[in-house]
Amino acid sequence: MKADSGVGKEVAFVKRWQSGRERERERGLGVAGPSQRSTVLRQRPSSGLLIALAIAALWTVAGVGEVQAARISHVTDTSVGEQVVRFFSMRDPLVRTAVIGCILMGISSGLLGGFIVVRRLALVGDTISHAVLPGIMMGYLWHLEKDPVALFIGAVIAGVLGAVFVSMIRQTTRIKQDAALGIVLGGFYALGILIKSIIQRGAGGDQSGLDDFLFGNAAALSSGDVILMAVVTGLALLLVGLFYKQFFVSSFDETFAESLGVPSQVFHYLLMVLLAFSIVVALQAVGAVLVSAMLIIPPATAYLLTDRLHKLLLLSVVIGIVASVGGAFFSFLSTGLPTGPFMIVSAAACFVVAFLFSPSHGVLPRIFRRREQTRRIQRENTLKAMYHLIEEEGGVDVVAQSGRRVSVESLMTKRGRDATEFDTEIAALVRHDLARRENGSIELTETGWTRAQEIVRNHRLWELYLTNAADIASDHVHDDAEIIEHVIGAELVAELEKQLKNARIDPHGSNIPVVEEGIAQ
């Protein structure tokens, strides 16, 4: 529909007028407008919260100490009901370990994923999550067992090396970012698999857990793993909490960050290190192949639900926790199912719901809003046609006394509609209490009359403004005003009237109606 894109353009134009208060919202998650720049660095709405979460994460370290390592799948199958009870009551120490692990993973990946998605580094997360594999295998070779700390160090080194490799390829060759990511992803992963196959051939030791790194097995988490996860998550939370404003500013506008004295390169690499941390945390629970999904899907879901960064981070942490605990639960229902895929599917379910139904950015609410707008514009056009007819017949001055009534035939001709279309249009007006239909004629109600006046006023004011201020020929301004009349609000009308010094005649010589104490929509 042609008018649609036109409306979009005009809306954007109009919004430039609006007060700075709404700018942050207008620009999505961008850094606030100039008037707010000075306050950006003073506001730290969520760092207190993040630090509290960090303390909670460290506290679980103490709590989880006595928990024994075991596998959920060791438990024999019982009925689904009993399994549900056992899972959610968390009486079982092994279930408790797994659930605590999942919660920690939800926190760390949701938090860092938020920055990743906002910075458009989603696939860097994917690449690093594959690139940690050789590091994990080398970490395993260190002691020939699953020593969480050795694996962690190896993984972080390999992950950061992968990130460095990507930027080196990009800077020294003409290979673009996407291909560089693909090369590092595939190459590092293959190296990891190569080392893994050598280990499995002959290194001996307890290799049982190595496969879990690929598809994840929350049930195989040991208390040592969970303690490490808690420490790392706590550290990530603490750093993000302390440097929230720096991360925030450098995520949206690196130049602006530099001008405030924030070294955005340093924070980029700090983020990469933290990302490697959170990937390692998530690795045992979801597996290397699907970690990136936990970094992308929960924040992307949150991104559809809110426009503020701290809310986004909080929501994505919540969604991450829900998805990971949900995934652990589903894989718990039956033996031998990998945890990771179920977590991803749970997260994806959240995403689909948000994608379709999010009040602000969902597909269905948007379709609904657009249809509502089309209908409103149609109603307003009918009202306007009635106003024009009244104006042509007797002049608007007499209207106040003699009623605001037009004949069905004249309105039908004016709108160029056939009988059925016309009936629907009038029915819509009646439904909204804008007009009454009496045999042979249509009468505007009080509200309908005011609204009709407003629309005509908006139209003529805009025409006058374009001719006077923007220097557009008076025969070129009508189409533009046809669109704008439906979208400008009271604030802008007041501004226009002020700028036009309350002129009452439009460029075509018609009166601009005065609306008494505008009964705005």
Partner: protein, 320 residues
């Protein structure tokens, strides 16, 4: 550590695999890897040119549910599996576009959302249907290249080779037939449009064929290393030449050499041969990165050094 990496023995690693007893095994495995590598490299070149390398990654993951469903319906019927993969591949492409066109989610996040979800569904299907199909988690992750050499002795050629050869030959034919269309639309969609080339059809066609190539590579290298098979040959070739036809030739040679050298590397280290082939390919990439005559780090360093010296000499001449 020493017991992990065997000492290099030229006889067992290089000579023996081609002796009368073993040459058939070696030949079929290397041939399979080469054919897969060439099909991947040919498609991969265009992915790199179109900046779609990560869509290749996405499709290589997301064909999994298509393959599994096709397996469940057709019990391993080759063409049906290809068709299932094509459907899954198209769903991925369309799903990614649908998400980033209809919401504020950016393209990279949309890619990440779609392929991981489809892959997760595929893994779940595999673990539920483990009894009915003979793809297991291992095959998804590492591939089973060695299967190319396992077939009853009375057959002349390995049954694994036939689909791989079919895909490789068809890839070559497609590239030759549609070279102009692929070339123009990769560099300039507007020009393509003005020449009457339907750029979006070329795009979807490429995605569909990519899905088929990925499936043929699936058994050989698994779903993740496919990314490397797609991107690394083309990237290496692009470091060595600026002309597309030359790039295509070099990438095919790269595929052949990685398969050959990689297989011997696997014999030496006694490790997973698909991984060894990809790692070898990476090694070639790093060598090109360092030593490429035109764009390598070394030659760039030398050029810069020569320039610096020339500048210094000029300055000295002017001063003195």
């Amino acid at each position: 550590m020493n017991d992990l990496i065997a000492p290099f023995n030229f006889h067992t690693v290089v000579t023996e695999p081609w002796s009368a007893v073993y040459w058939q095994t070696t030949f079929w495995i290397v041939l399979q890897a080469t054919l897969v590598g060439i099909s991947c490299a040919l498609v991969g070149n265009f992915l790199i040119l179109r900046r779609l390398a990560l869509v290749g990654d996405a499709i290589s993951h997301s064909v999994l549910p298509g393959i599994v469903v096709a397996f469940l319906i057709g019990h391993g019927d080759g063409p049906l599996v290809m068709f299932g993969a094509m459907v899954a591949g198209m769903l991925t492409t369309l799903g990614i576009e649908w998400i980033y066109k209809n919401s504020r989610i950016k393209q990279d996040a949309a890619i990440g959302i779609v392929f991981t979800t489809l892959f997760a569904l595929g893994v779940i299907l595999v673990s539920f249907a483990a009894n009915d199909i003979h793809i297991d988690a291992e095959c998804i992750l590492y591939g089973k290249l060695e299967q190319a050499a396992i077939f009853s002795g009375d057959r002349m050629i390995s049954p694994q080779i036939i689909p791989a050869a079919f895909v490789a030959v068809t890839s070559l034919l497609l590239v030759v037939l549609f070279y102009k269309q692929l070339l123009v639309s990769a560099f300039d969609e507007t020009l393509a449009g003005s020449l009457g080339i339907p750029a979006s059809w070329v795009h979807y066609g490429l995605m569909a064929w990519l899905s088929v190539v990925v499936v043929s590579a699936f058994q050989a290298v698994g779903s993740i290393m496919v990314v490397a098979m797609l991107i690394v040959p083309g990237a290496t070739a692009m470091l060595l030449s600026m002309r597309l036809p030359t790039v295509m030739w070099i990438s095919c040679v790269h595929a052949l050499l990685s398969a050959l050298v990689g297989y011997h590397l696997a014999l030496w280290l006694n490790c997973n041969s698909s991984a060894a082939i990809v790692v070898t390919g990476m090694g070639f990439f790093c060598m090109a990165w360092m030593f490429s005559p035109s764009q390598g780090m070394v030659s760039q360093f030398l050029v810069r050094k020569a320039l610096r010296e020339k500048l210094a000499a000029t300055r000295r001449a002017r001063m003195g």
